[in-house]
Subunit: 432 residues, 2 copies
C-alpha cells in the first residue's frame, strides 16, 4: 500500500497567523478512501529546514505532498529548497511564463516582476499545469519517492490534489460498502461505552468502524465488504445508540428535518429567547427551506414574549421566563401566530450570568407545539460557555422535532402532550 | 531565545477523524507573545514513530510539547513510548491513583481498570497534576530539552499549557506595546495593497506588523517598543484602512456595537429575511445584550414581511422582496413594532438558487432605520456559497450600524436618509 505524508511550509502556520487547512483536508479525503496519512510536518520558510523535512519524509514514504511557499514574494523559498534537495538549479520556464503573461494581459492585470518568479522550477521537475490561480505545481523524484510541490492557498491545493494525487488513492476496492451515521445527545465517552464490542464485531466480519466527534455531534462511519456484514454492524449500532440518531450519510439534521416536513407538507416556526435567532438560522441553512419555514419570533425580553406570542404576564411573573409554563405558551402562541403545523420554543440561561441555585447556567426549557398538543422538556447542559449552551439548545430543539416526526420520541425525552387549554390556563403541567 | 516545538500523536489526526486544534492554538498563543513554534509533527499511535519524533524534536529545540495518546484505552501508547525514549519503565503512581479513585467515588462514577492506566508514568518523570479532567501530564528531560506530555483533549491541553508552559513565554519585554485592529469589508489582497510600505515603516521604527485573515474579517496586529513608534504605525494604518475598522484589541464587532448602544441608552431590533435569525444570534453572543436588544423578526416569506412589519403588498409585488423599497419598509416597520431606537433589515439572495440577471446570487439589500430616517445599501457579495453570503450580510449590517453610531458612514457606504413618509409611500428612493 502506498505510503503518503504531508509537509506544510510557512512561518504563518507556526506563529499562529493561520492554522493548517490543507493537511487536515488531505487526511479527511484519504480517510474517506480507506487510507491514512503517514505523518504531517509543519516547517518554517527556511531552506535548510525544508530540505531536512523532504529528506525525512521521502525516506519513510512513497508520496510526499508539499504545500506552501510557492508564492511570488521573497519569503517563498520552497522552489529553491526543492531544487537544492535534488541538486538542481531553478530555471525559468518560458512556456509557462508566456502563458501566464497572456492570461494577465487578457484580463487587464499588470504583469509584475514578482509573477516571473512563479514561472521558475527545478530543472528536472515535471511541471503540473494549473487551471486555478497563477502558480503551477511541480513534481520531483528522490529516494524512490515522488514529491508533489503544490500552492498553499486551500482551494488551489485541493484542486491539485484532486487532479494529480487523489486519483491514485481512489483505488479502494469498489465492493467496500459504507454508511455514515450522525448522533446527538450523548458524550463521546458515553457513546464509547455503549458501543463496546463494535470494533471486535467489525473485525469479525472484516469491516471497519471509525468515529469522529465534532461538538455537539458524533459521526460513526461503518465499512464492510458485503451487505450482510454492513447490516450486522448497522444493527449493532442501531440497537445500542439508535435513539440518538439525527442524520445519515452526508445529510445534516436540518436537511433531514426539512425533508420530513416537506414530505408531510408541514411547516415549522420558531420562538427563540436565549438562542435569539440561531435556530432560525440553522433551519434556513437548507436551500429551499422556504417551503417549510416561513417566519420566526425572536423574543428576548418578557415584553416580547407577551406581545408577540401572547404569553401571560402572570405566567412570566409566577414561573419566570425559563419555565415549562412560559415555554409551552411561547410554542402554542408561535404556532398560532405563524399558522404553522409545528412550533419550537426555547428559553434558557446561556450564561455566564443569570444563573440561580434552582436554575443554574445551562438550564434550558423547550416547547414543541403540534396539532395534537404541546410537549415540553428541560435540559441542564454542562456549562462549557455561552456559545456551547446555545448551540446545544438549537440541536436539542431540532432533534426533538425530528424524533417527533419519526415517531421516536420517548417519555424520558419529553413530557406531554398537554392540550392547548391546559397550556393557556397554566394548569396541569407536570414539572419533574 | 527558547526554541519550542509541538508533537501531536494520534491516528485520528492522520485519517481525518479530527483536525489538530492544539498545535494551532499553541502557535497562536506563542505568536501573541512574540514567539513562534519551531515545527509541528503529527505522528501515528506507534511506539517507534513516537520515539523517532521525540528524538528529532529534542535535537532541535529546548521545549517539546507533546499532546495526545495519554487516554485510558489500548491505542494510547504515548506513556510507554516516552518511557522507552528515556530508557525508563512505566510505573504506577500510588498517590495519583488514590486521588483519582477518590475523585471518581465522590462523584459516584465507577472506577475501571482502564482508569488505572492513566496513573502510570515513566519512573523518572515529573508528574504534572491536573485540575481539569482525569489524566495528569508529565515532564521528561533528554538532550538538554524538556518534553511536556499533555492530554490531547483541547480544553485540558490548553489548561496544561497555560499552567506549566506558557508562563515561561510570557517573558517578552514588557516595554513592547501592542494594538490589534479588526477590519471588515475588503479582501486580503486589497488590504495588502493599501498597506504597502507598512512593513518597512515598522522596521524603521523597530516595530512589527502581522495580519491574519479569518473570513470575513482581517486582524492586523501592531507592536512597537515606544508609544511614539506605535502611534506612527497606528496613524499609517488608520490613514490607509481606517474606514473599514470594526473592532480593536480583543473586542468583537457585536461587543463594540453593544458598548456604543449601551452608552447612548439606545436599542436595536432586527428584521431578517435571508439571514433568518443569524443577525439576532450574533448580536446576542454578547452577554448582557438584553440591555440593548429586546426582540427581532424573522420574516422569511412575503406574507411575514407584510404581516409582521407592515411592508406593502404592492411594494413586494412591484419591486420584489430583495429591493431597496422592501428593505426600507422592513426596517421602518421593525423599528416601530419593537419600539427600538434602531432597526437593521436584511433581504437578499443567498443561493444557490433564486438568482436572476438583475439580482444574481449574492445580491443583498440592507435597511437601517434611525430616529432621523431610513438608510439603504445594496451589496453584491461574491458567490462563495450560501453560508458565506449570509455571514457577509450579517457582518455588513452590524458594521453599518457601528459606523453610523461612530459617525463614520460615508456616502459610498450607504444612501439616505429617507424620511418615514417617503419610505412608506414607496417614493423618492433613489436606486443606483
Amino acid at each position: 500500500m502506498t505510503r503518503i505524508c504531508a509537509v506544510c511550509i510557512g512561518d504563518e502556520l507556526l506563529d499562529g497567523r493561520i492554522s493548517d487547512k490543507n493537511a487536515s483536508w488531505l487526511a479527511a479525503e484519504l480517510g474517506e478512501r480507506g487510507y491514512m496519512l503517514d505523518s504531517v510536518s509543519i516547517v518554517p520558510d527556511d531552506r535548510q529546514r525544508i530540505v531536512d523535512a523532504l529528506d525525512d519524509a521521502s525516506a519513510h514514504t512513497d508520496t510526499v505532498v508539499v504545500c506552501g511557499g510557492l508564492g511570488p514574494t521573497a519569503d517563498d523559498m520552497t522552489r529553491e529548497a526543492a531544487a537544492g534537495w535534488v541538486g538542481d538549479e531553478v530555471e525559468l520556464d518560458e512556456s509557462v511564463l508566456a502563458e501566464l503573461r497572456e492570461r494577465f494581459e487578457s484580463r487587464g492585470y499588470p504583469f509584475t516582476e514578482n509573477n516571473r518568479r512563479q514561472c521558475a522550477f527545478p530543472r528536472t521537475a515535471d511541471i503540473l499545469p494549473t487551471e486555478v490561480g497563477t502558480a503551477a505545481g511541480f513534481k520531483l523524484e528522490k529516494h524512490d519517492a515522488q514529491a508533489y510541490f503544490l500552492p498553499g492557498v486551500p482551494p488551489e491545493f485541493r484542486w491539485f490534489c484532486e487532479t494529480y494525487i487523489l486519483p491514485a488513492f481512489a483505488a479502494e476496492d469498489e465492493s467496500v460498502l459504507s454508511h455514515k451515521f450522525t448522533f446527538f445527545g450523548m458524550g463521546e465517552s458515553q457513546l464509547e461505552t455503549r458501543l463496546e464490542g463494535i470494533v471486535e464485531l467489525a473485525e469479525s466480519v472484516a469491516g471497519r468502524v471509525s468515529y469522529r466527534a465534532e461538538f455537539p455531534i458524533i459521526e460513526v462511519n461503518l465499512k464492510a465488504n458485503s451487505p450482510d456484514a454492513l447490516q450486522r454492524l448497522e444493527e449493532h449500532l442501531t440497537d445500542k445508540i439508535g435513539p440518538w440518531l439525527i442524520a445519515e450519510d452526508d445529510q445534516t439534521l436540518a436537511e433531514r428535518l426539512g425533508e420530513r416536513l416537506l414530505a408531510d407538507a408541514s411547516t415549522v416556526t420558531v420562538a427563540e429567547s436565549c438562542t435569539a435567532g440561531w435556530l432560525g438560522r440553522d433551519l434556513t441553512e437548507v436551500s429551499g427551506s422556504s417551503s417549510w419555514f416561513e417566519r420566526g419570533f425572536i423574543t428576548y425580553s418578557n415584553a416580547a414574549k407577551a406581545e408577540m406570542l401572547g404569553v401571560d404576564d402572570d405566567v412570566l411573573v409566577r414561573h419566570g421566563a425559563v419555565s415549562a409554563q412560559t415555554v409551552c405558551q411561547m410554542a402554542a402562541g408561535a404556532r398560532e401566530a405563524a399558522n404553522a403545523t409545528f412550533a419550537l420554543a426555547i428559553s434558557g440561561i446561556a450564561g455566564p450570568s443569570g444563573g440561580s441555585p434552582e436554575k443554574p447556567v445551562g438550564t434550558v426549557e423547550f416547547g414543541l407545539a403540534t396539532p395534537t398538543g404541546v410537549y415540553r422538556k428541560r435540559a441542564n447542559f454542562p456549562s462549557r460557555g455561552r456559545a456551547a449552551v446555545r448551540e446545544m439548545a438549537v440541536y436539542t430543539a431540532m432533534a426533538l422535532l425530528l424524533w417527533y416526526l419519526e415517531d421516536r420520541l420517548e417519555p424520558h425525552d419529553i413530557q406531554g402532550p398537554y392540550d392547548r387549554s391546559t397550556v393557556l390556563a397554566d394548569g396541569g403541567i407536570t414539572v419533574d
